[in-house]
């Protein structure tokens, strides 16, 4: 096998100075959510490790994750794709197409067996042998299984790949699901979000590339450095929540004043993501900052947990749980009262009967 270039080699090729190289390593370190103590490790890895081969495949989805990814600013998505990873195959970003392109995929899988990173976007459509999602004459289930069994690690980008996504919403006609059961025992890194934050996407792939291993994961397989906090606990509007200042409508004075969107059904208290600290597009904004309640897009099943503008789900005309609860409490009280009356009447009748019997006996 020919010698594969490292990030440093590629910098040398391009005449990039050592100083700039170290600078980009510093940027990478903070991007991956690591402490600056780890800088020397990152530099060593960037000097020695060959650029990671990445195969990026797409299943049942809208490619919104790619839209997010190409807006990554640090590092620029173009830098990442062209000089920090070896992106050998990508359904969406590749210029090539057709049979030669598919042949190249097979070649890449064979050539870098057990060394490449498999990035998967989109759900797996499992119903009817997966015929609802095909590419290159094969079902996506086939491609995924084949690519995953030879991969070093698998990254599930987006809520679709993690837990099925919008197409898995009830009644889920295509049997869409997350990729977990198709990757076997390969290390799987879940990067949920609809879409995930661009810097989170690039940060995760760089972590795997430089350290050759998955970053520390939480109980649901998500990188702790990006999914370690609830949006609610990192939200800049949290002080309004604590003070009890809420927007009641999207057009009221509270909403204009930038108060907490909790009463408008904000899912921040249930959602783990970096929106509150990294934010989107170079820290420009995130949904809550733009005045829209969080819909919890990095949660499994968020699509079925509507309505997005209510804290408690409403059951048609009956209302939410509190209304039903009050109704049940009133009915219980009425039932209990009726039972008490019936008991007293019954006891009275019985006492009369017993008194009559007693009288007859005398």
């Amino acid at each position: 096998m020919e010698k594969r270039e490292s990030l440093w080699d590629r910098c040398l090729d391009k005449g990039i100075s050592r100083r700039s190289f170290i600078k980009s390593c510093v940027a990478l370190t903070s991007l991956m959510g690591l402490s600056t103590d780890c800088l020397s490790k990152v530099v060593e890895a960037a000097e020695a490790k060959p650029l990671p081969v990445v195969i990026w495949i797409h299943g049942h989805e809208c490619t919104g994750c790619d839209e997010s990814f190409i807006r990554s600013a640090s590092p620029l998505a173009s830098d990442l794709v062209l000089s920090q990873i070896d992106l050998e195959y990508d359904h969406l970003l590749s210029a090539a197409c057709g049979a030669p392109f598919e042949a190249h995929l097979e070649e890449t899988i064979q050539k870098y067996k057990g060394q490449y990173i498999l990035a998967v976007e989109g759900a797996v459509s499992t119903k009817d042998n997966g015929i609802f999602c095909m590419s290159g004459g094969h079902t996506f289930t086939h491609l995924l299984r084949h690519a995953a069994e030879n991969a070093m690690a698998v990254i599930a980008y987006g809520t679709c790949a993690v837990s099925g996504g919008i197409q898995a919403a009830a009644p889920n006609p295509t049997g869409s699901s997350g990729i977990k059961m198709f990757v076997g025992n390969k290390p799987l890194i879940n990067v949920p979000g609809c879409p995930p934050i661009p810097e989170v996407m690039t940060g995760v792939v760089m972590h795997v590339a430089l350290f050759g291993a998955a970053p520390p994961l939480d109980g649901e397989g998500r990188p702790k450095q990006f999914y370690g906090n609830r949006i609610h606990d990192t939200c800049y509007r949290r002080p309004f929540f604590d003070a009890g200042l809420f927007a009641e409508n999207y057009d009221d004075a509270g909403a204009k004043a930038g108060w907490c969107l909790y009463k408008l059904g904000c899912r921040g208290p249930e959602t783990y993501n970096s929106c509150g600290n990294i934010r989107w597009y170079q820290g420009m904004s995130y949904p809550i900052q733009s005045g829209a309640a969080c819909i919890g897009c990095s949660n499994p099943h968020f699509w079925d947990e509507g309505s997005f503008s209510d804290r408690l789900p409403k059951y048609d005309k009956i209302g939410d749980a509190d209304k039903i609860g009050v109704g049940l409490a009133v009915m219980t009280t009425a039932g209990v009262a009726a039972h008490a009356v019936a008991s007293v009447v019954q006891k009275g009748q019985r006492d009369v009967q017993e008194a009559q019997k007693g009288g007859a006996a005398e």
């Binding site: 109980g219 009890g244 200042l245 208290p269 949660n299 408690l312 749980a321």
Partner: protein, 227 residues
Amino acid sequence: MKEVKRKEYYIFSPFLRIFHWIMVAMILILFVTGLLIAKPLQVMTPEPTYTLTSMDLVRDIHFVAAFIFCASFILRIYGFIINKGDRLFPRVWEGHFYEETVDVALHYMLLKPHHASFLRNPLARMSYAALYAMVLVEILTGFAMYYMNDPNSTGGVLFGWVNVIAGGEMMTHLVHHYVAWFIILFAIGHIYMVIRAEFMEGESEVSSMFSGSKILAHTPKDACELE
């Protein structure tokens, strides 16, 4: 004026009685603050900075009440260990339990004029077991939400799995909220049943939760269990 001969049966230890009344107070506090957390009140004053409805305070009251509740439950379990009278669960492994439950249930359905008297009414005991199950769900889901502000903390590790089982943290919130309503429904039925037993069946259900003793004119069927 009439003279009645009564016997005193001591069954409820202070642990149980203190727990019971702490539970009453805490469930009321937890329920009211819980509703306020789900749907915060907003009282507008001319200057929002001086708003009267601090969500932070409501949440703190909820959390403190929850911890007091859990602490008293631990003492309740301690009382169960050291005192013969306190029981946590109905004796479902004893065959006669089921006949007795049916007997009592038929009476409550107004189909039978009387039922055998018990120190520990089997049907009531079943409902308490159901209450403990609901309380357990509330404790698990409550701590799962509370501790996950730091998933790496001990509490987060101990209770984080609840969110996974519930199928997402939103579900945990909903389960916590819905079960709270069922506890209130239980309380309505419970209050009615003990008052009914006191007035119509001559059981000292109400007073025994203060004094610990039942002072009865008749001999309950399970009196021998105290020996």
